[in-house]
Symmetry: C2
Subunit: 404 residues, 2 copies
């Protein structure tokens, strides 16, 4: 394969945060009416100004700088002391022990963990089961390594509140056809659904039966709304050595600016991840690693408040969304994403995403990033300023009316 071909599929044009690179975007659109006034809201990611980083995080960074060389140059898998501090907290959260020496790696963001975990598990020609829809990088990483994607449908619209809606028969077929890995996010990004205890148990059983490695991205697993039961695959797994769990303090905690993630579980995969990290980026930024000391160490009141703030925003916005004629949306059980399906309009969904930005100052991520079957949906991260977000969703509704 030529290098040009290899990069053809790796587009970033529709990726969140890249809108600034779209030049002269309006010339080919037939815009209707005047732009709508209001505060610009970027729903492509959370607003860490509206929801500030964990109190004390900057002080921990400063202390890391003061430590000097020992904090700047850590093992590739991250500072040993910090790993030993973190392991029991991750174990308590996920319900299964974590080995700080051989079973845990600190990475540059959750994205770094995901890339390394996939690259350490599958190679060219391998089959990999991937949920549709799911986080867009899953597909792109697998394609970059020339592995073969085996799609597994998630019926997030049709499933009841007790299930995420994974098609377990399709997962088993993928394993039977030789998929050596299964990769999914829980809660699902973009749909915001949480896999039920039964679904997680079934995934664990199938992975065991077919000796597959499961990589589970639990980035939003701390942001679960009241009444929802969250099951950790690693606690359920019959063979925990076949599971790699990925998390990071970037979402609920608003610590994205430090670029921190972790992967834990299978020692074999983590050893390979470290080997690869040595040539990909050496390590997560040394001083940033010190910030991990505040993770799972937050004041309970602060933590509780952060969840209830998101619950309020979710409920405010869902009410506005459901009021727009023809929009179909399920209220998320966890995380901070809405994934509404747009009604039929006179413009394509792709053009509507551009129109939203140009005429309403509303930035969303096109659904086509998450699955070939969700081109008519858009993803919105509602971790935003509450009032500004409500107004932005009202403008979103107005433009749907205008282009209907």
């Amino acid at each position: 394969m030529f290098i040009e071909t290899k990069f053809m599929k790796l587009g970033v044009e529709g990726a969140p945060g890249q809108e600034v690179r779209q030049k002269n975007a309006a010339t080919d659109l037939s815009l209707r009416g005047e732009p709508l006034k209001g505060k610009r809201v970027d729903f492509s990611h959370g607003d860490v100004d509206a929801h500030k980083p964990t109190p004390g995080s900057f002080e921990l960074f400063s202390a890391g700088v003061a430590v000097g060389g020992a904090q700047a140059y850590t093992e590739y898998r991250g500072d040993g002391d910090i790993r030993r501090e973190l392991a029991p907290k991750l174990a308590a959260f996920t319900g299964k022990s974590v080995d700080p020496e051989d079973g845990l790696i600190i990475t540059p963001g959750t994205q770094g963990a995901l890339f390394l975990a996939v690259a350490a598990t599958v190679t060219r020609g391998d089959k990999v089961a991937i949920v549709q829809p799911d986080y867009f990088a899953n597909r792109k990483i697998v394609e970059f390594f020339e592995a073969e994607i085996m799609p597994v449908r998630l019926d997030y619209e049709g499933a009841t509140d007790e299930r995420a809606g994974i098609d377990l028969d399709q997962l088993e077929s993928a394993f039977r056809a030789g998929a050596r890995a299964f990769l999914f996010s829980n809660p699902n990004n973009p749909a915001g659904v949480v896999y039920s205890a039964d679904e997680i148990a079934a995934i664990a059983l199938l992975a065991k039966r077919y000796e597959a490695t499961v990589i589970v991205d639990q980035l939003y697993s701390r942001l679960v709304y009241p009444g929802v039961h969250y099951s950790h695959l690693r606690a359920e797994a019959i063979d925990a050595d076949n599971v790699v769990t990925i998390m990071g303090p970037s979402k609920l905690e608003s610590l994205s600016g430090y670029r921190l993630g972790v992967a834990f579980g299978s020692k074999e995969v983590i050893a390979r991840m470290e080997k690869l990290q040595a040539i990909v980026s050496l390590r997560a930024a040394g001083y940033s690693q010190a910030v991990l000391r505040c993770w799972f160490n937050e004041e309970p009141a602060w933590f509780k408040n952060r969840i209830s703030q998101h619950l309020l925003i979710r409920d405010d916005l869902i009410a506005v969304l459901l009021d727009i004629d023809g929009v179909v949306v399920r209220s998320p059980q966890a995380g901070s994403y809405f994934f509404p399906k747009l009604p039929k309009m006179s413009v394509s969904a792709a053009d509507f995403v551009r129109i939203l930005r140009l005429q309403a100052g509303v930035i969303v991520t096109p659904g086509s990033e998450f699955s070939p079957h969700t081109g008519n949906s858009v993803r919105l991260n509602f971790s935003q300023d509450r009032d500004a977000a409500v107004e932005a969703i009202m403008r979103f509704g107005s433009l749907i009316e205008r282009y209907r």
Copy 2:
């Protein structure tokens, strides 16, 4: 290829900074005599406690945190304002314009830039010319992508002070045999030699003639000792679009703890690098990027002083090294590495590296990391506390006597 096979060659055991993971290392060694007393010196990397980060760097980081969301979430290729601030400085330094919009990317460390640049240039089966010896990750990245290495010898021992010693005939043969890329560090890591103007002009000419892309790692190009002329390939290149230059503020500037690097030049390669960065790590840590504002902006007196400090340490240590019977070493023209060849001893070079750590508290990087032909050399980063380093090199000499 199985994933296990793919990772077999990707060892990190001998890599700098990983010594802490060597367990019960002494049991298979026949140690002679007692440990030597003295302050432990880790020559595997520079000591950022002895040579502090650029004044003002932490304040810039703090200001970045204060900016908030806009600094946490930048374009994947890095913050636009910072790129626009940096581009003219990089252009002035390298003697050729830099396009801040399409010709520059900010990466998590120079390691990040190197990985992305290689991955964006070559793929499975492609031939890549690589200098021997050179930075160990060069070989590992190329092997990871299943590309074929075409070695190009660097006669750093035999060459005069005016040349680095590259075998240009071998480089041309590699290009003639189909190498589509050439990857090298200048100054050379580990040998500390600088490519002459003639060598750089010849490389540019050959790359043009055979339409090859050149990736040049100039990490140490700001730390050049008096009397040495440094030539920038991108200024010499007849076709600058075929050159990617990599730099970062981690060495002379001691800013390693922030993990920052840049790559600039070929727009085509940089566009691919950004696509890949989007799935590898998203971006260099947002707040860290703010630290780049002090780069190429240092007080001239501070900058001059930093170079003269390293010159003094170099000359002190080289005198001690040359005093050890049988050690062959060339005084570096730039950077902070010695690459001495060890005399014949009763233990293997690999064991001697372990003995040095256990009995002398002296950590060095084995020469086998840099080339299959330099197993009898070791690399020492002399960016250290001057007195501690002199004593450590004396212990290094004592152990050579003990194991002769």
